[in-house]
């Protein structure tokens, strides 16, 4: 995440009650950037990201889910869908909801046009592909109506 995007995330903490934020990629939940206390490490966020991404897809509606607010005791986690990523904000329950919404709106506007780096391309063969490769019969060359063809 570049310094401008990180600065945008940091600006969320100007709102009293906001404890931190992070961004995950839409579709995979991969962690793209964070501004959170060190006690929440990247391993935790890499497990949480895909769940958050899935939560945004479960409501059956003509329109996609744009936002989710989750309440946990004295804390809340708000998620806002951007173009290709989701902005997640952790806050105290006592945070001002209108101020939180406005802050998330402004930051998501800044981050929305951001071209997130593509995930590293795996050089390993996916299990499904590998299985298919081993079960497919070997190709062979045959003569058909006087022409050589491969089937």
């Amino acid at each position: 995440m570049d310094s401008g995007s990180l600065e945008a995330l940091r600006s969320l903490r100007d709102i009293k009650g906001i404890q931190g934020s992070f961004v995950v990629r839409a579709g995979s939940g991969e962690l793209l950037g964070r501004d959170l206390p060190a006690v929440i490490d990247d391993v935790v966020l890499s497990g949480v990201g895909p769940r958050i991404d899935r939560l945004l897809t479960i409501v059956d509606s003509p329109n996609p889910t744009e936002a989710i607010a989750l309440r946990f005791g004295e804390q809340r986690l708000d998620v806002k869908r951007m173009g290709t990523a989701h902005l997640c904000v952790l806050a105290e329950a006592a945070v001002s909801p209108p101020a939180l919404r406005m802050a998330m709106k402004l930051v998501s506007r800044k981050l929305d046009g951001h071209a997130w780096a593509s995930p590293p391309v795996s050089t390993e063969v996916a299990p499904a592909q590998a299985t298919r490769a081993t079960t497919e019969p070997p190709k062979r060359t045959v003569q058909f109506r006087g022409r050589t063809t491969t089937i």
Binding site: I52, V59, P62, A67, L70, R71, F72, E74, Q75, L77
Partner: protein
């Protein structure tokens, strides 16, 4: 609204023993009663019983200061009480030191309740609105849109009651509950209380109650979900 209501007034025993009339008024609405008490500058409490539900209104020198029913307090409780059609009212002199939770003026509340009532009637006539979400929650609001659905489930996902076609909502809520608890535990947060999803105009609120039951309400109307949202403090 007035023609449908029928509130019976019961004066308390101590009032009957003292000077003044004991009244039994048929066809009086709660709106009439609120208006009467506010305009007379009364300091009184009224206990309202309707279809097994209990409500309370309190007046302080003609100001509607406090109201409660179920989990609702203040303005939302007044609006809910004003939709009750029949019942018994018991009047008590004086007011308890409950503080003032009613923010809006009584005129504004009566107007708001009348508008809500009109909208419900219009939608009921036009689109066959569901009878009530209360069957699913006991204290959930009456839906004002035909798409409103509600479901109450046990923690393990067994549907206990529902209003409307709630199969999808039940599945969504059960899944959301598991995901949300996982997310909360991973991040070291407190116990999960509930969540809200916004998709266009559609609002879905899932509440994990202290009893362990799960209440979910889905509607395009804010009025349908506002109480569930308040319960989880969002």
């Amino acid at each position: 609204m007035a023609s449908e209501n029928n509130v019976r007034l019961i004066a308390p025993a101590e009032a009957r023993a003292s000077a003044g009339f004991t009244a039994r008024l048929m066809g009086v609405t709660l709106a009439d009663l609120i208006q009467m008490k506010c305009m007379s500058g009364a300091t009184e409490s009224i206990r309202i019983l309707s279809a097994g539900k209990l409500g309370m209104l309190q007046f302080l020198k003609g100001h509607l200061s406090h109201a409660a029913t179920g989990d609702l307090l203040g303005d939302r409780a007044v609006l809910e009480l004003l939709h009750w059609r029949t019942g018994d009212c018991e009047l008590f002199a004086g007011a308890l030191p409950l503080g003032s939770l009613v923010r809006r003026s009584w005129q504004s509340l009566l107007l708001g309740a009348a508008q809500e009532s009109d909208e419900r009637a219009r939608l009921r006539d036009g689109s066959g609105v569901h009878e009530s979400l209360a069957d699913a929650g006991g204290e959930t609001p009456t839906p004002v849109r035909a798409r409103a659905v509600s479901v109450r489930m046990s923690r393990d996902g067994q549907v206990l009651r529902s209003v409307g076609a709630a199969e999808d909502l039940a599945a969504t809520s059960a899944y959301a509950l598991h995901m949300a608890i996982y997310i909360g535990e991973s991040l070291g947060l407190d116990a999960f209380k509930g969540c809200e999803f916004r998709a266009g105009d559609l609002r879905t609120v899932v509440v994990l109650e202290a009893s362990g039951e799960v209440l979910a309400v889905q509607s395009e109307a804010e009025a349908d979900v506002v109480e569930a949202r308040v319960r989880i403090g969002l």
